[in-house]
Amino acid sequence: MKVEYINPFIESVVEVFSTMLDTDAVRGDVGVSRAAASNPRDIMALIGLSGDARGTVALSFPTATAVAVVSKLLDINTKTVDDTVCDAIAEIVNMVAGSAKAKLTGDAGLPLDLSLPTVVRGRNFEVEYPTKSIWLEVTFESGLGPFNLRVTFEKL
């Protein structure tokens, strides 16, 4: 995976937080992981990209950040991770992936499709992907708490 491929995803995270959550998200350094990636946080939303490229985008949130995101998005006060929180996190990763997809393909509209998002709770699992995949990871700080972005992406 080329390092520059992660930039559209980083930009999209910033846009989604700014537009939908009225909150700044500030990125940290980009790290690389060749190993299967275990969940660094409490709740992870993943979405697949397929077509002329293949990849996976994952956002991982501590519980406190996840509930803060949902509370802000829906203007409610929730404290626990429930279906609404999982649904919201799924929608956030969907918007990030969709926005990044448009940036990656440009106006040419190369055929790239998004899968429906999946949400996983808990830390005791690993995300496997085809051999030799490289995951790039960025930690973000935001007004709603920290979270992680992970991306593996290859043009075919």
Binding site: E15, V16, T19, M20, V70, L73, L74, D75, D83, T84, D87, A88, A90, E91, N94, M95, A97, G98, S99, K101, A102, T105, G106, D107, A108, G109, L114, L116
Partner: protein
């Protein structure tokens, strides 16, 4: 005015219903996929439809085509993460009246709604 909000995400439906309220549209039905949306429009009349693209069972774009094939003429606004121009063109050709890319600011929803009723 009665609106139909179509999105497989219950959270996004709530967000859209909140945005519709800013346009003083509070009579809102919900559908979780394209199939439900088509059935809802066959069952009752709507003045406006907000339609997601990527949904299980039936894509939003196919629901738009089906609704138009049924002779329904209410404004349909796509609200989707599909941001490529080719997708916008496909949606408009299929019968959508306007297009909103997620993420969006609530004010954008109000503006687009007002624009389809001008």
């Amino acid at each position: 005015m009665k609106a139909l909000v179509v999105d497989d995400s219950a959270v996004m439906r709530k967000v859209l219903i909140g945005a519709l309220a800013r346009a003083d549209i509070t009579d809102v039905e919900q559908a979780a996929d394209g199939q439900e949306a088509v059935k809802a429009t066959e069952r009752e009349e709507f003045d406006l439809v907000l339609m997601d693209w990527n949904m299980p069972n039936m894509l939003g774009i196919d629901a738009v085509k089906a609704i138009r094939a049924n002779g329904k003429t209410m404004p349909i606004i796509m609200v989707t993460t599909e941001a490529e121009k080719s997708r916008v063109v496909e949606a408009i050709k299929s019968g959508a009246n306007n297009y909103i890319v997620k993420p969006f600011e609530p004010a954008t929803i109000v503006e687009k709604i007002q624009s389809v009723f001008k």
